[in-house]
Amino acid sequence: MKILKLPKEKLDFFASVVQQFGEVHAPVEQDGQYVFKRLNRWSEARLDYNRTILPPKKYFLPQREVMFRYRPEAGYQPETEGLDKRLVLFGVHGCDIFALNILDQVFAGQYPDPYYQARRKNIAVIGVRCDPDEHCFCRSMRADFVDHGFDLFFYDVGDYYLTLVGTARGDDMALATSPLFQPVTQADIDLYKRRSWAKREAFKLDIEIRHLSEIVEMEYHSGIWDELGERCLSCGACSMVCPTCYCFDVTDDVELGSVAGRRTRTWDSCLFSTHALVAGGHNFRDSRASRIKFRYYHKQRGFVAEYGRPSCVGCGRCIAACPVHIDITEVINQLRGLLDARSQ
């Protein structure tokens, strides 16, 4: 992996030059929170942000998208508009890149999703190092660093960014901006190592995920789910802001008086009362308790069985977004505590 060094005072020029690789989007402050959006000028970018309201998944799996249109005389016509649009996502945190790598497994695995894949191909990702706040627990979820899934990754080392080149496109970006870079020194590497260790020690939240999938399985009938069901509003906010929740609903909109129409997919949530509602009116998860249990079960247990690790990356968005302050780290600690109490 190629490693370079970019002086911070040249970051604006770097961002200007990489516009040739696509429209530059970055975290921008909005009403005291942060959102990824297109930059009108470099000063709008806030690389010191804690977390964006919505994760970068919104670029790869939009909240709502038309998949294809159908018309008797033309048959099925895939919707391709916008799929080839080139973007540069600037300032993505490591946990969110980790989440994209998880989504890659879902949408580029056994059932490849051409919409997701086209966007993943056309959207460049530039990562940036971050510091944990009171909701971050990515270290606990082993998602506090990434070694792939980005084109470039910027590590803040004082007056410079150590820049890791992750892909051929990242290398092209570095080549296009090569006069801005400087050689890496041993002092930079030493500082990088010190900062890396300091971040490790800076987390305020810490949970233990060893044996978690078994514990979730063992506690399937625990009363904790009923307690959570009493509190949970089934609003689905946790799913919407989650960087790895990928459920979507599919609907057909048929034109009046015609058999022509379009098929659309929209973000869905397993917390919604209609998520497990099937034809005939039966609902496999008709209580809030069963739905919130399902969410934990899928992310911490089902995903492990399917892909080898929990799908949670510890970004803390669900903690920040929950209107009734359900905290995943408390739930997990409670689950572990119940087990400990019984084992005594």
């Binding site: 040249k10 604006d12 020029f13 961002a15 200007s16 030059v17 516009q19 040739q20 429209e23 530059v24 297109r38 930059l39 009108n40 000028r41 470099w42 000063s43 296009a176 901006t177 006069p179 801005l180």
Partner: protein, 138 residues
């Protein structure tokens, strides 16, 4: 506004430069619009649909013009608008050594400040033609 009127938008934070250049271009028959930052420039461009833009780079921010040009390129009704960059970027930031011809700047032509006015006029004429009102048959 005549049918053959050619409108040029100048976007530059230097009021002396915009006044001088506007006067010069108006003397040669062009209709000139002036904005002093990228945001205002974009607003005017969307509203007036000029035939050409003369754009500074370093305004409120030193890369403002570069982002404004990109926004022009991503605006459907403006994406083919010729953009002439007029900048002292390479003089003011000597260690920025990426040439404008390297393909990264979405401009059409680059002019170093201080600009050679007759040369700029010649290039504008070549790009959008002279602004000579023609007789319209009754």
């Amino acid at each position: 506004m005549s049918a053959t009127e050619k409108r040029i938008l100048i976007v530059d934070d230097d009021a002396d430069l915009t006044a001088g250049l506007a006067f010069f271009l108006e003397q040669h028959g062009y209709t000139v619009l002036v904005a002093h930052d990228g945001r205002e420039g974009l607003r005017l461009a969307r509203m007036e649909l000029p035939h050409l833009v003369v754009m500074d780079i370093m305004m409120n921010e030193r890369t403002e013009g570069l982002f404004t040009i990109q926004e022009i390129r991503h605006t459907p009704e403006l994406k083919n608008l010729p953009v002439f960059v007029l900048s002292a970027l390479y003089e003011q930031v000597p260690d920025f050594r990426i040439a404008p011809e390297a393909g990264w700047m979405a401009h059409d032509e680059f002019f170093h400040k201080p600009v050679n006015m007759p040369r700029l006029l010649e290039r504008i004429r070549l790009r959008i033609g002279p602004d000579v009102p023609k007789e319209v048959p009754a």
